[in-house]
């Protein structure tokens, strides 16, 4: 790999951090706005459910998200503040259907200690000011003027140092905040202050309450007319206003999120750490609060946000499990729950660990993640491309074509499958037992190859062979009419729809037939100058049975032409360029836009926008799908039409956001495909591949596919063992029922196909599984699972005892072969020169696998290396060991065979708190650190002095904005040896927010080119809220901020493809590269993930 890295997101963040409800896109429209760390999604609430409107990246990690409505506005504005102290106010522009920036700014202070408990951003309910608590001891105020514009910000000193929550109170003549804080003696109190704008200072207000519940950490301000504030603790809930104090005890729980149900604030939904949803009711007599009531509603995912939408429908956003849309019923169900889950939104976060495996052995990686936490823990299998779930298959050699036919025109299902071979045609049909069985249609000619088949109106079928077109009744199955080609000219290609047939014979003859009741009529004949290579008359106009346009691909001049029907007049001729003839053309329409797709013999695909009125072809784009000729076919899945491109790299073409997308199908080579929608196998496809005919259903059409395996416990570490075809995980199960938080820790063995637990090894009390590895040792052919553990005693700050356990899988069971006690937590395990390398607290320790006299094996310590604060992350390559320290960045160790010792070779002297490391190549190491940055360091073996050689030089720096938990070498896409991107090595990473990303090492020239493109894109693509991309990607920690170097933001570069043509041209001009070329290069890059 190289120092020039390209970072791109394969799976966007899914961890919901904030959500709010309001009238953002229109005065009458109710919107749900969801923040997923670095993205915001705007949804519209409709009768059908939530309808996505916009999903945009924010150049920052969202710290606060609030909707508010200044005086005189008819709809809400959105306030966003980021963790790097930028804020913006966004407004919806209904005409352009995009967000515009009303205001933006920077609220950072040069000095000040960032708050430990996270940033707080709040807006006065009467819209007089915005309050921010960003630094300990300071409260920043951004006042609004009379017109709702923001004025200059200022700080007010806040004496409370440990602030837990701040909220604005409702119904106060002056803006008033209520502060929940902890004092030096760890007691919690509530205080309130009036903000005096004129003096830029606070005035103590009357509401206060001392010595609250020790777990109190959430305030809920109650709107008018009740006013006051609710203080949510772990054991009590308290309501306070100037005159009233009410409290109720609750079952011990930590409330993570709340959502207000009624505008008057008398009911609230509370979500706790176990995922239980409660309803809190403030009982009141007019404006006087008489008491509090709380009721358990049911269970949801562990909520991080709760937004009450409308009509008892609630959005539950989660950080630890899938987010949900739930309905609250008036009556409990059989289990006593009032909660009904209407919809789930997949969330991979937090990805604590993952492994890259090739379970289907197709040469394509899949990622298996440990996702979720607590009860929502799960394994997720993430793979790129669309899967075919095989339902039946028959061995059949030499298939030349396939079509499905119905037994009558009105039949919703297909009955027959016509399979054509070089010298015969066979017909298969589903029998009563749902088996495929050979049958006959008497009217068809079975002794020759069929060129085309189709259903026709009036319960008829059409078969085209090289000599004739036959019209057959689908009921009597007898031939009704036949049209013969001119003698001497055989039919080469043909196509048909329900009412039309178009055939091309040798010598460039094009014949157009129409289908009548029991009758074929030759309507028009045209003589073209060259032979015809492919045809299509797929009806995409208003009439689903009849097409006004015909697409024709030509030999010799390599062109594609559009003819009008029925008069066969040439409308458009488009030369394709090059020497490769078109092999398949297809008229199709996606999301109301008509396209002409044209596949070439070398695996390239051209697409054009097709004007239905004029037949004009515009906006030509070319992509490479494979290397072999492509056959295009449409099919329908979930009521949407897609196109299947059969070739050596089968691809599904679909459209999303009015943009064509290509998703590869997880099959090796497909020669032909046709939809085969039978009653027994609805929405199925018949697929011809190497000597086999398969019937299967297709996954949802989207790029990444995620399968969930709910575990009900929290998986922390995972690894795969090829030999035993198993996964092993370290997991912990919480026991919420018992009073103390008791946890049980396990090593579990899972089958890699079914993902069932097949064996479990329970760990001791207080023993945690910290690391897991599948490896083998020198002079021992067995493959073992090695597990590193730690005994985490409640009274100990740092574990002082742990174990290394060595298991073998026998008969699907975990058998403990050896165990070795260690003097600390085993944070990492690596296979190293046929030995086992463990990171134990401050130490790196090497163990060898020794044969004892009695034939049993044991781990024996060989050598070690001290000198780390905590060696948390270790990777090895050859004799080199790269250690990611808790707080001392990366160091490089080397194992010396002769001396049997490990020595330090070099280190990075920066104080980076590491979260993951990986070795990119012999000299370059990649690290992720605590402040969401990535960096690379290089070994400086040619340094002149020891000092230089002993220093790892920082060569790349980049702000990712995501907390990376793990890097792994591998790829999510199938690697084709002949494509350019196939040669680019990649590393996959997984983050807390559920992002799966890819880091690709580019060659130098490509990096320079893309860097220039990125610079140009920054000028054209403006960040939402006016946030700067350059600043966002700059490396940032407490000590320094420096521009990103040697890393490129692939997400920005790939957004080039979403630009309008004029903007593309603008960039192409600035780059002095044709737009086509740019597009091609960027499309190549999208193949990396």
């Amino acid at each position: 790999m190289s120092v020039w890295n390209y970072v791109v997101t394969a799976h966007k963040p899914t961890n919901v951090t904030h959500s709010c409800v309001g009238n953002f896109t229109g005065p009458q429209e109710l919107n749900l706005i969801v923040a997923k760390c670095t993205r915001i999604e705007i949804h519209l609430l409709t009768a059908q459910g939530l309808q996505p409107m916009l999903d945009v990246p924010i150049y920052g990690r969202i710290a606060t998200l609030e909707l508010f409505r200044p005086h005189g506005e008819t709809q809400d504005l959105l306030f966003i503040a980021t963790e790097r102290y930028k804020f913006c106010v966004l407004q919806w522009d209904a005409e352009a259907a995009e967000v515009i920036t009303r205001a933006m700014g920077d609220v950072s202070d040069r000095i000040g200690r960032p708050t430990d408990n996270g940033q707080i951003g709040i807006i006065d309910p009467d819209c007089r000011l915005i309050g921010l608590h960003l630094y300990d001891g300071l409260f920043k105020v951004i006042p609004f003027d009379n017109k709702g514009q923001l004025k200059e910000a200022f700080n007010i000193r806040l004496e409370e140092l440990q602030v837990l929550d701040i909220k604005f109170l409702y119904g106060c003549p002056k803006p008033t905040i209520v502060v929940l804080y902890q004092d030096n003696k760890d007691a919690r109190h509530v205080k309130s202050y009036e903000v005096v704008l004129k003096d830029k200072d606070f005035l103590e207000a009357s509401l206060s309450q001392n010595n609250l519940d020790n777990g109190a950490d959430l305030l809920i301000p109650v709107p008018q007319p009740l006013c006051g504030v609710l203080i949510i603790g772990e054991e009590t809930i308290v309501y306070v206003n100037a005159s009233t104090f009410k409290a109720i005890p609750i079952r011990p729980s930590i409330t993570r999120a709340y959502g207000r149900v009624d505008a008057d604030g008398s009911r609230y939904l509370l979500g706790d750490h176990n995922g239980l949803l409660h309803l809190l009711v403030i009982t009141h007599d007019k404006e006087k609060v008489t008491g509090l009531k709380i009721e358990l509603l049911g269970e949801t995912s562990i909520a991080s946000t709760i937004s009450y939408l409308d009509n008892a429908v609630v959005y539950v956003g989660s950080s630890y499990g899938d987010s949900q849309l739930v309905k609250l019923n008036l009556q409990p169900d059989a289990k006593g729950s009032y909660v009904e889950v209407v919809e789930r939104y997949v969330n991979l976060g937090p990805i604590v660990d993952f492994c890259v495996v090739d379970l289907e052995r197709q040469g394509q990686g899949q990622v298996v993640t440990c996702s979720g936490a607590y009860k929502d823990g799960s394994l997720r299998i993430v793979r790129n491309g669309i899967g075919i779930n095989e339902q039946a298959s028959v061995e059949l050699q030499g298939i030349k074509g396939m079509w499905s036919l119905r037994s009558s025109t009105d039949d919703p299902f297909d009955t027959f499958l016509v399979v054509s071979f070089i010298s015969e045609t066979r017909i298969l049909a589903m029998n009563i037992e749902d088996e495929l069985e050979e049958t006959e249609i008497e009217g068809f000619c079975p002794q020759v190859q069929t060129l085309f088949c189709h259903d026709a109106v009036y319960n008829q079928l059409v078969q085209v062979t090289s000599s004739s077109v036959r019209l057959v009744s689908s009921i009597s199955r007898e031939m009704l009419d036949e049209w013969h080609a001119q003698s001497g000219f055989s039919i080469n290609v043909a196509t048909a729809n329900l009412t039309q047939v178009l055939v091309a014979t040798g010598g460039g003859h094009l014949v157009y037939l129409e289908i009548g009741d029991r009758k074929l009529t030759e309507v028009k004949h045209a003589q073209l100058e060259f032979d015809i290579s492919c045809l299509d008359i797929n009806p995409i106009g208003e009439n689903p049975n009849y097409s006004h346009l015909a697409a024709v691909g030509m030999w010799t001049d390599i062109s594609v032409r559009i003819f009008s029907l029925p008069d066969l007049n040439l409308i458009t001729k488009e030369h394709l360029g090059g020497e490769i003839i078109p092999r398949s053309v297809l008229l199709c329409s996606f999301e109301g836009i008509s396209y002409l797709l044209c596949a070439l013999g070398d695996g390239h695909l051209l697409n054009f926008l097709l004007s239905m009125n004029t037949g004009e072809l515009t906006d030509r784009k070319k992509v490479s799908l494979g290397t072999q000729p492509i056959t295009l076919r449409t099919f329908t899945s979930k009521n949407t039409t897609h196109v299947f491109a059969a070739s050596d790299r089968p691809t599904v073409i679909y459209s999303s956001n009015k943009k064509l997308l290509y998703s590869n199908v997880n099959l090796k080579e497909v020669s032909h495909m046709c939809p085969f929608n039978t009653a027994a196998f609805p929405d199925s496809l018949a697929i011809a591949k190497e000597g086999e005919l398969t019937i299967g259903t297709i996954d949802d059409i989207q790029k990444l596919h995620i399968r969930s395996i709910p575990l009900g416990e929290h998986a922390r570490r995972i690894c795969h063992q090829e030999q035993s075809r198993t996964f092993a995980i370290c997991s912990l199960k919480y026991n919420p029922s018992s009073t103390e938080d008791s946890e049980m820790h396990f090593i579990r063995l899972l089958d890699d196909q079914t993902f069932d637990f097949i064996s479990t090894y329970p760990l001791d009390q207080y023993e945690y599984g910290c690391s897991i590895l599948s490896c083998s040792f020198s002079d021992d052919s067995n493959v073992y699972y090695c597990v590193g553990t730690a005994y985490v005693m409640p009274e100990e700050n740092e574990p002082t005892k742990g174990r290394i356990l060595v298991f073998i899988v026998e008969d699907g069971k975990l058998q403990l072969i050896a165990e070795k006690e260690t003097k600390g937590a085993v944070y990492s395990l690596n296979a190293f020169n046929g030995k086992l390398l463990a990171a134990i607290n401050q130490k790196i320790q090497l163990y060898k696998w020794m044969l004892r006299d009695d034939g049993s094996r044991e781990l024996q310590s060989e050598c070690g290396h001290h000198g780390h604060i905590l060696a948390l992350y270790v990777q090895t390559r050859g004799d080199f060991i790269v250690v990611g320290d808790l707080m001392k960045s990366i160091s490089l160790l080397i194992y010396k065979h002769e001396e049997g010792a490990i020595e330090e070779r070099a280190r990075d002297y920066n104080a980076n708190w590491m979260s993951a490391v990986e070795i990119l190549d012999d000299d370059i190491y990649l690290g992720a650190e605590n402040n969401f940055n990535l960096f690379t360091v290089r070994k400086n073996s040619d340094g002149a002095t020891d000092e230089e050689r002993g220093r790892l030089e920082v060569v790349g720096e980049y702000h990712l904005g995501e907390f990376v938990n793990r890097f792994r070498h591998g790829s999510l896409v199938m690697r084709l040896p002949d494509s350019d991107v196939g040669q680019i090595p990649t590393v996959i990473f997984g983050t807390v927010n559920g992002v799966i990303g890819v880091i690709a090492s580019l060659p130098s020239d490509q990096y320079v080119f893309l860097d220039k493109l990125q610079t140009n894109l920054r000028r054209v693509i403006k960040g939402v809220g006016g946030l700067s991309h350059e600043q966002w990607r700059s490396f940032y920690n407490e000590k320094k901020t420096v521009d990103a170097k040697n890393f490129l933001d692939g997400d920005l570069i790939e957004s080039f493809l979403d630009l309008s043509r004029s903007k593309m041209d603008e960039i192409a001009k600035a780059m002095s590269v044709p737009a086509e070329e740019l597009m091609k290069r960027v499309e190549e890059l999208t193949r990396l993930h």
């Binding site: 202070d109 040069r110 000095i111 430990d116 000193r157 030096n184 003096d199 005035l203 707080m887 708190w913």
Partner: protein
């Protein structure tokens, strides 16, 4: 630790909070390191210690034997006792034999804050020397009228390169490295100046503590000091009652006219002065530049009443000053064996009662704070004590020296504390957990 790492992995613990928790737990469990030993090159007491601010790797020490030494505290020079004890020998020593070396004890040795290419030493021989680290040659020196007690450079400064020097003389001198001359002299103290400290929130603000017991605040762009801390002013934690407050504010906002100045100042009195400090400080924290133009400063200085001007922070000399990283609090040590915590905005003595300490009184002391400002390390005779800054309770007592200690340094990067003994040092100790 493992639990914390697990919580960070699952996103339950914010990474920044993870850091501060680990830091404070490491700071709270400091012990004398058995694995690391810094071999002192000094034949007398060590008066000053500093680890460089850029890499946290090089330790600079200044000794009473007029020598100054630099150590690499990350890479050991050799190991002893079967590799268990890593010894760190000095990279170089400059002593009296050096042609430009100091003649008498070095009281202060500090790194140039931007890189390790320069360092500054101040000595009882009245000279302040600026050294080039690579060549170990003096590139510049300044002659002061008395013994140099303390030197300081601002780590924030972007527009000046001034060394503030506290000497026997009543005037504080600012030595400009750029020009090689004294840029300013700051007059106000009535006795020698034992401690100087630059503000951590503004590059223009300097704090000095004198043998006269006063702690003065200077804005170096203006003449005179703008604030003097008064130990009897202790009204922290009370927002002024409503009426009084607004009246006061009216006064302070309306005084832009020069004529109204004296009257408004008078009206303010003692407590008002605190509020003034508040106003000016606040803007220092927020937007330094814009605030400077405000009307507060000039009004403050000429009007500083003689009674205020005479206020003292300690009975006896102020021997050590340390400002918290966020620039909101100041810790001072006095020869009255007291530590005081000051709220800088209001200029109030917070009255945190630091458990009785006995401080050595004749020399300036070097205090140090942990990164989150939760613990302050104070050399108390033969031990270093770590106090909780907010409650004043003793959290740690670090024993390891046989003689009195003068200085200590907390290395934020690795959470190691270093401390140096007074007389005849045997070796210097490195504290880590």
């Amino acid at each position: 630790m493992w639990k914390e790492i697990g919580k960070r992995e699952s996103g339950e613990l914010r990474p920044s909070l993870f850091c501060s928790r680990i830091r404070s737990s490491r700071a709270a469990s400091l012990q004398l390191s058995n694995h690391k030993e810094i071999v002192s090159a000094h034949r007398g007491s060590v008066n000053s210690l500093q680890v460089d601010l850029t890499e946290g790797r090089y330790l600079l020490s200044g000794g009473a034997d007029a020598s100054v030494a630099v150590y690499d505290i990350q890479n050991s020079t050799h190991c002893e006792e079967r590799g268990l004890v890593a010894k760190h020998k000095s990279i170089f020593v400059i002593d009296k034999q050096h042609e430009h070396g100091h003649k008498y004890a070095i009281s202060s040795a500090i790194w140039y804050p931007i890189d390790t290419g320069l360092f500054v030493t101040g000595s009882y021989d009245h000279y302040i020397n600026v050294w080039d680290t690579n060549t170990t040659q003096v590139v510049m020196n300044f002659k002061t009228p008395g013994k140099v007690y303390r030197t300081a450079m601002s780590s924030l400064a972007t527009s000046h390169m001034l060394i503030a020097a506290g000497t026997e003389d009543v005037q504080v001198r600012l030595c400009d490295i750029a020009s090689g001359a004294f840029a300013h002299t700051l007059s106000g103290h009535r006795d020698g100046v034992m401690s100087v400290e630059w503000s951590t929130s503004s590059e223009w603000v300097l704090l000095t503590g004198g043998s006269d017991g006063a702690i003065r605040f200077w804005d170096i762009r203006r003449a005179g000091c703008f604030s003097v801390l008064d130990q009897s002013n202790s009204q922290l934690g009370r927002r002024p009652p409503f009426l009084d407050h607004s009246a006061m504010n009216k006064a302070s906002t309306s005084k832009s006219s020069a004529a109204g100045q004296s009257s408004s100042v008078k009206a303010r009195g003692l407590q008002r002065k605190a509020a003034n400090g508040n106003g000016s400080k606040q803007s220092t924290i927020g937007r330094v530049r814009s605030q400077v133009k405000g009307s507060m400063k000039p009004r403050l200085h000429p009007g500083l009443l003689s009674s205020q001007d005479r206020a003292t922070a300690h009975y006896g000399a102020v021997i050590g000053l340390k400002m918290t990283g966020d620039g909101m609090y100041l810790l001072s040590a006095g020869s009255d064996s007291r530590l005081r915590l000051w709220d800088i905005e209001s200029g109030c003595n917070t009255l945190v009662n630091f458990e009785t300490v006995r401080l050595q009184t004749t020399k300036p002391l070097q205090l140090s704070l942990t990164q989150d400002s939760a613990l302050v390390f104070v050399p108390c005779m033969a031990t270093a004590k770590a106090f909780d800054v907010w409650s004043g309770k003793t959290r740690l007592t670090l024993r390891g020296h046989y003689e009195n200690m003068n200085c200590c340094w907390f290395n934020a990067q690795d959470q190691d504390a270093l401390s140096r003994k007074g007389q005849a040092a045997l070796d210097e100790d490195n504290w880590s957990d």
